[in-house]
Symmetry: C2
Subunit: 196 residues, 2 copies
Amino acid sequence: MSKKEAILSIAAKLFAEKGFKDTSMAEISKLTGAAEGTIFYHFKTKDDLLIAILEMVKTGIVQEFESYVGERSSSSGLEMIEDAIAFYLYMATKREEWFLLLNRYYIYELARVNETTRKHLEAIYTCFVDIFDKGITLGLEDQSIINSASRKTALIIFSMVHGLVWFKHHDLYDASALYHELITCCRHMLTRSTVV
Amino acid sequence: MSKKEAILSIAAKLFAEKGFKDTSMAEISKLTGAAEGTIFYHFKTKDDLLIAILEMVKTGIVQEFESYVGERSSSSGLEMIEDAIAFYLYMATKREEWFLLLNRYYIYELARVNETTRKHLEAIYTCFVDIFDKGITLGLEDQSIINSASRKTALIIFSMVHGLVWFKHHDLYDASALYHELITCCRHMLTRSTVV
DNA sequence: AAAAAAATCGACTGAGTACTCAGTATAAAT
DNA sequence: ATTTATACTGAGTACTCAGTCGATTTTTTT
């Protein structure tokens, strides 16, 4: 692994776990074995390093989720939604650093003044919502889901799963014990009949 | 207003809007007209100042929400939930500083090492969830809500509204346009019949 | 009015910060 | 073998920050 890759990988971990402000360049330097100057040789500023990491995360997320959609063939729109929620929650554990980073305040502050950051975040969130949206659209066609404004409902579902992951990251409640309940609640929300 | 009150009020605003790390004691000093030494006379450390603010927020939230529950007399459990969601969203706008502060990562990091912080946060979150829980319990009795594990469902509802407020604070989507949809989705989730 | 206590001040400290730069090592191209 | 380009170094710079301290003012108590 080149120094540049090491810097990206270690910094991604630190930014996610400790936060951007609480991670110093000295620390990244120490853990990678690269001199501080080397970090600034590859990334002009600390912000630039974060942006590069966010691009990595974006690429990773889009890849994982698109390949998931590609491989998966659900029997109904409703099932697709349920699977997508389960996959989201699974990924939030498997790639916790990604989702921890996305829960950090700093990147949204940066997004306000930096176009590139904004684009990356948009790509990530669009990727998530599109999957739910697609499931709803499909479900409306095959009648596994009852009438609802697809985009809006997709956003509501997304805020549910996002909220739950947020709780988990902040050690509020035993959030992972709610995964099953979340899916049940969504099914109730989207279907006419009462499935128990 | 005493210097101490001024410090609490200005710092609360700054911590919420700019974040804890990005607000310096010098800034608080300048905006309150109190010398830096004065701040440290009233609050031993910067963390202590944050904890005092969090206590204020806790008191405020618990007061507002308990008096809301006391005054309100909903016709059914379902209606109570719907009203509570609307009230939560209303308060998240009216007292945005409170909710912005609660969305900051730092307080949860502090909560990990500081008992008092943890207690305040618990009190706040218990207050929220209890209201939803009470609504569900009531709804199960008066049959406006179908079978569900009340505490778990309350947490799911909470993660929905919380997630939506989080989106709003980070300028993702036009979150406030989803308020109505959120309530509709919850109604679908909790009831047997399809109300459109 | 005198003494005691509480509140306020702001210059100062020292540890930390992101970032620079002049120079060195390594690899690639000629 | 020599030049050129790229990767890397780490001491140094300018600056910010939370927190201290001794002195001064204001308030309360006697």
